[in-house]
Amino acid sequence: MPRLDRLPQISRNNLLTFPAQVNDTAPFVRPGKPLAACRLAIVTTAGLHVRGDRPFTPGDQTYRVIPSDTPTRGIIQSHTSIGFDRVPTMRDVNISFPIDRLRELVARGELGGLGPSCYSFMGAQREVRRIETETGPEVARRLRAEGVDVALITPT
């Protein structure tokens, strides 16, 4: 995002008062193999989901599964905050869910493969306790069971 001082005041205030978590350190798991041998899945906070799946509501800490072979026309977005421009997503969902780009990397042999599922959460969450302790770890366990080594995390 451009620097905060370039945003309209209402957006800037929203961001400055946003209760972002403060951490001193981070867990750091190094992938045990090169990318060309890794299986990757997208985990997005863009509130995307398969058309017909239950839309997210604001403050919703659950997640949706997007099978990795879903065509882009089958993906919609219920994170509809008017703080961001939805036109790029209308034009090209790869703007926050780069599934076509990843397929290209797999085809070129630069990425080992895609996991069978991608996962999606709602963004702009002020209360994240349940994601931290319940739904986030649940997605991690599912990714592990699906043989995924690396998660690419994308925002809206």
Binding site: P8, Q21, F84
Partner: protein
């Protein structure tokens, strides 16, 4: 925060960050800060080359020996043709004359939207209510009744979806119809231009301002939240 939960279970993560100030606090294991506006995480739509560049820089962080690591994507990559965030309805003065018959206007937009579907191969963000565009006349009537203060209901509202949430889905679907329809009319239009047209010149924009006003006048925080999500 999500990245941390995944790493705790043994999955390596790498993230794209839009708000550097937040990422500095949360400290995900690996993050690439990008200088793009909200809604543009990978740079530009329909620009595979730039998207691959961003993706490559994000995936390269997996080679870092220690973390957390927060790297900046070159600021010169910022697309200069888009504002950092779309303009809000309150900053757009409605035209003196906008169409009164929103249902009719919506039916006209549907024709453009059909063109959009042909061009996009069926891709559309319309679909949160599950009501097809062919029945949007009913959605408009519902929103008009609500804005007029009536006690309205739609049979399509699932019982588990509260009324203000359903109204927001209706508003979002209506916006998708108009915005994508506008893209069919003027393919080069950006988000700012379309927002100015929608809030300034369409009957639907005026209707959603009125829907917002009724939601915002409520004491119920869920109604106020829906108002904030529709127009501000």
């Amino acid at each position: 925060m999500l990245a941390r939960a995944l790493e705790h279970e043994g999955i390596s993560t790498t993230s794209i960050s839009l708000v550097r100030e937040h990422t500095e606090k949360v400290k995900p294991p690996r993050a690439l800060w990008v200088p793009f506006p909200f809604g543009h995480a990978l740079g530009r739509p329909d620009d595979p080359e730039l998207q691959h560049c961003v993706l490559r820089a994000t995936l390269d962080l997996l080679n870092e020996p220690v973390g957390p690591v927060l790297r900046d994507f070159p600021e010169s990559a910022e697309p200069g043709d888009q504002p950092p965030a779309p303009p809000q309805a309150s900053g757009i003065k409605p035209a003196e004359q906008v169409p009164d018959d929103v249902a009719m206007e919506t039916m006209q937009m549907r024709r453009y939207h059909e063109r959009w579907l042909e061009k996009s191969g069926g891709r559309t963000l319309l679909g949160l209510t599950g009501i097809p565009a062919t029945r949007f006349r009913g959605v408009v009537r519902f929103l008009e009744g609500f804005a007029d203060g009536q006690d309205v209901e739609m049979p399509e509202r699932p019982p588990e979806v509260p009324l203000p949430n359903f109204i927001r889905y209706c508003a979002d679907d209506l916006k998708a119809l108009y915005f994508e329809g506008h893209l069919a009319m003027k393919p080069a239009a950006g988000g700012e231009e379309i927002a100015r047209w929608f809030w300034g010149e369409t009957g639907a924009g005026r209707l959603l301002r009125r829907v917002r006003d009724r939601l915002d006048a409520s004491d119920d925080p869920r109604w106020k939240a829906a108002a904030f999500g529709i127009a501000r």
